[in-house]
């Protein structure tokens, strides 16, 4: 396989990931997208989900929130509001946050607050799924 991909994941809180990889699979709004080096330029919206990447023999995952991904020949830039490594996920804290968000959502049915809660729930769910998946693999 020729060349490498430079994957950069940035959130408003800073750069979460910046390194060379061989393959990225990201959660596009219209389904999973696999990106290899030399991919045609692509700009897409992404939804909360798991970002799989392969560098050498090592695979790695990130839980990402909604945002955008820009692919140019050898570079993938992901702009998202959340990016967490599985080892940084605190399962209990996330579970708690998820529950309280669901509780709060029951009281508020619509409006911007409900929207923010929905986003919160989505993000937490993604984090939990990733963490649990990771545990069953080990």
């Amino acid at each position: 396989m020729a060349g490498k991909l430079r994957l950069v994941v940035v959130t408003p809180e800073g750069k979460t990931f910046d390194s060379d990889v061989e393959q990225v699979v990201m959660p596009g709004v219209e389904g999973q997208l696999g990106i290899l080096p030399g991919h045609v330029p692509l700009l897409t919206a992404i939804q909360p989900g798991e970002l799989d990447l392969k560098a050498g023999s090592r695979g790695d995952e990130l839980a990402v929130g909604g945002g955008f991904a820009e692919v140019t020949g050898d570079r993938v830039t992901i702009l998202t509001d959340m990016a967490v490594k599985p080892e940084d996920i605190d399962e209990h804290a996330v579970e708690k946050a998820l529950q309280s968000a669901q509780q709060a959502l029951l009281e508020k049915k619509a409006g911007p607050e409900a929207e923010a809660l929905m986003a919160m729930i989505q993000r937490s769910t993604v984090q939990l799924n990733l963490k649990r998946k990771r545990r069953t693999q080990i």
């Binding site: 045609v40 330029p41 955008f68």
Partner: protein, 291 residues
């Protein structure tokens, strides 16, 4: 000449003041570090977003989106991001001086009490006031930008400019005006703080992009995200400025108080010594008179 007791009393009161300003300086310093980190952390995101947006604009060509269309400006709106509290030097004064120069028909949205009070004092029209705390989440700040977007789309306001204090470094903060809506030329974007880099854009200008779901849809998702992020970043910047300015103001207040204590102590010793001298003189004179 003041008596020693008066001077002692003054020294004590200045010392108390110095203690308070010192404590405030410490608090501001720790808040400043956090706020500066947060403001700086957003810059890579700002740069990437600029790059994506401007490269998108280069290729999509003539796109129509309400955010990009210029209309006749009848009701301009200014978002003033000020501080809640004073004691931060000339920060608000500098910012509000520029705000005061705006044309009479301008309507205001404020974040921070100082700006709100200013608008009320000037008798201008206040559309909304938002409270922004130090630990405000991005969701809270998003309410501000969402409000502005809604008002803009409904046609209640025709343009949005943001007045805030740009954080340059701990000692220098500059009041600044940023035009948020309409976005105008996409090529000239400057999100948050990072100026966009010419080279990186030109390098991939010839590439043909695929858009998913479609160019228009990506753009119409990207533009509001850009607005939200821009406001978020500027609020963080203003926070960093506020705490830096307060830290510096409190430091100079502490220094001034210390200088004053020194002067007063000197004065106190002078008075005390001259008192002793007079007393000695009196004793000596009395002795001489007795002899």
């Amino acid at each position: 000449m003041a008596s020693t007791r008066d001077i002692r009393r003054r020294i004590r009161s200045v010392k108390n003041t110095a203690q308070i300003t010192k404590a405030m300086q410490m608090v501001a310093a720790s808040k400043m570090r956090k706020a500066q980190q947060a403001a700086l952390a957003g810059r890579p995101y700002a740069e990437s977003m600029n790059r994506v947006l401007s490269s998108l604009a280069n290729r999509v060509g003539s796109i129509s989106h309400p955010f990009l269309e210029k209309r006749e400006i009848r009701r301009p709106c200014a978002l003033v991001i000020s501080t809640d509290k004073g004691l931060c030097g000339a920060l608000n004064t500098n910012l509000l001086r520029e705000v005061g120069l705006l044309p009479q028909e301008t309507v205001f949205v404020t974040a921070g009490k100082k700006g709100k009070q200013f608008v009320a004092r000037m008798g201008r029209e206040l559309l909304a006031d938002f409270e922004v705390k130090d630990d405000s989440s991005s969701y809270k700040i998003k309410q501000i930008s969402q409000f502005l977007i809604d008002q803009y789309l409904e046609g209640k306001i025709d343009s949005v400019s943001i007045f805030h204090t740009r954080f340059l470094n701990t000692l220098v903060q500059k009041p600044e005006r940023n035009d948020l809506l309409p976005i105008g030329k996409l090529e000239k974007l400057e999100a948050g703080t990072g100026k966009h880099e010419e080279q990186s854009i030109q390098a991939d200008e010839n590439l043909q992009y695929i858009y998913e779901p479609s160019g228009d849809e990506v753009l119409s998702a990207l533009l509001p995200a850009y607005i939200h992020f821009q406001v978020y970043q500027l609020v963080l910047d203003a926070k960093a400025s506020e705490h830096s300015a307060r830290m510096v103001a409190m430091k100079s207040a502490t220094d001034n108080a210390k200088g004053m204590i020194k002067d007063l102590t000197l004065e106190y010793n002078k008075v005390r010594q001259s008192g002793i001298t007079t007393e000695l003189l009196e004793i000596a004179t009395a002795q001489m008179a007795m002899a």
